[in-house]
């Protein structure tokens, strides 16, 4: 235990965050009346500060700022253009391959058992459902973030 009284700094730290103080500080405060009084004074002080009224502007800040903003024109982005182009080429390639291999696809499931076929369908469906839920949740979260009313 700390024999001498705690410093003002230790007491402030103890009151604002007891877990950040050493056990010696805590033990001293438990047994020392003088330091307890000081700690209590800081507790009251911090309580009083925390309960100060929150200042608010007496004007609508977002209206004021938005009226001064120059509406930026959505800029043409080459990066997005490249992504669109690659996606288009990718989809067309897949469709072309499907067309070329159409006969192979029709015979793909004829050789396997019904059980394997249904297993394949169930797995595909389940993963689609999970992805759908995830996409919907993300969408809801973004909409909530943008909800300013």
């Amino acid at each position: 235990m700390v024999a001498e009284h705690l410093s003002e700094n230790d007491i402030q730290q103890y009151v604002s965050d007891p877990s950040a103080c050493g056990s010696q500080v805590a033990r001293h405060i438990e047994t020392c009346e003088t330091c307890q009084v000081k700690a209590e004074t800081y507790r009251v002080l911090f309580f009083g500060i925390r309960h100060q009224p929150q200042p608010v502007f007496d004007f609508n800040l977002s209206d004021l700022v938005l009226s001064k903003l120059v509406q930026p024109k959505p800029k043409f982005s080459w990066e997005i253009m490249v992504v669109y182009l690659c996606s288009f080429i990718g989809i067309m390639t897949i469709l072309f391959l499907c067309f070329l291999l159409r006969e192979y696809f029709t015979s793909l499931f004829t050789g396997s058992s019904t059980l394997v076929f249904y297993l394949f369908v169930v797995i595909a469906f389940t993963s689609l459902v999970f992805q759908g839920i995830e996409i919907y949740r993300n969408y809801q979260k973004k909409i909530n973030t943008l909800n300013i009313s």
Binding site: E8, F57, P72
Partner: protein, 205 residues
């Protein structure tokens, strides 16, 4: 950790929207941060008529510099940093003092005074007594906080009202963390001494 990641995701989503030309997303950013900005402006700027221009200036600066935001802090911390430095420039332009060091170092006689007549803030005989004490305390503190220097007022508010960490406050004010702690210590001690003196004076009456 999840909360930090969520914050960054929300910030990123809003910033992407603003940069894509959606100014409504910027309105969301204003709504989310105007409480913090108001705290800084009200604590640093005393002239009521200047606060409106400063608040507007802060968000116009934020909008202009948004493409340069690098996600090294939360968006709110970044906007608070702009707020603090905009207020600081205003004070410098008006030749006003950000911090003073003229604290009264004389210690009040703590043995003879205890807040609320020696009662703990939580041990009142009835609710009315407790409410009166809290109202009186809030009012006294409001006056005493107003008398602190702009920097100390801001630090006290950011730490105790906005519950920001020392690290975040250091980012906003661009002061070393140790300096923030030291200023906070002095501001709290000064407030505590003034509070004790005030209660002692009232008890003498």
């Amino acid at each position: 950790m999840n909360k930090i990641r969520e914050n960054i995701q929300t910030d990123q989503f809003l910033i992407d929207k603003v940069l894509g030309g959606d100014t409504n997303a910027f309105a969301v950013i204003i709504k989310n941060t105007e409480g913090l900005v108001a705290q800084i402006i009200f604590k640093m700027i005393n002239r009521v008529e200047d606060r409106k221009d400063i608040a507007q200036d802060i968000y116009l600066k934020a909008f202009k510099n948004l493409p340069g935001f690098r996600y090294q802090s939360k968006l709110s911390t970044w906007i608070a940093q702009i707020s603090y430095h905009t207020c600081l420039s205003y004070l410098e332009k008006k030749k006003l003092v950000l911090t003073d060091h003229c604290y009264d170092n004389s210690e009040p006689d703590e043995d003879s005074i205890e807040l609320s007549g020696g009662k703990s803030s939580l041990s009142f005989t009835n609710q009315t007594e407790k409410d009166i004490f809290h109202r009186e305390l809030t009012e006294i503190l409001r006056e005493e906080i107003d008398l602190l220097s702009p920097l100390h007022k801001t630090l006290i508010t950011l730490y105790h009202n906005e519950e920001l960490s020392y690290d975040e406050i250091a980012q906003i004010t661009q002061l070393p963390e140790g300096t923030v702690k030291s200023y906070l210590f002095r501001a709290r001690k000064s407030l505590k001494d003034k509070l004790l003196r005030k209660y002692k004076k009232e008890e003498l009456w």
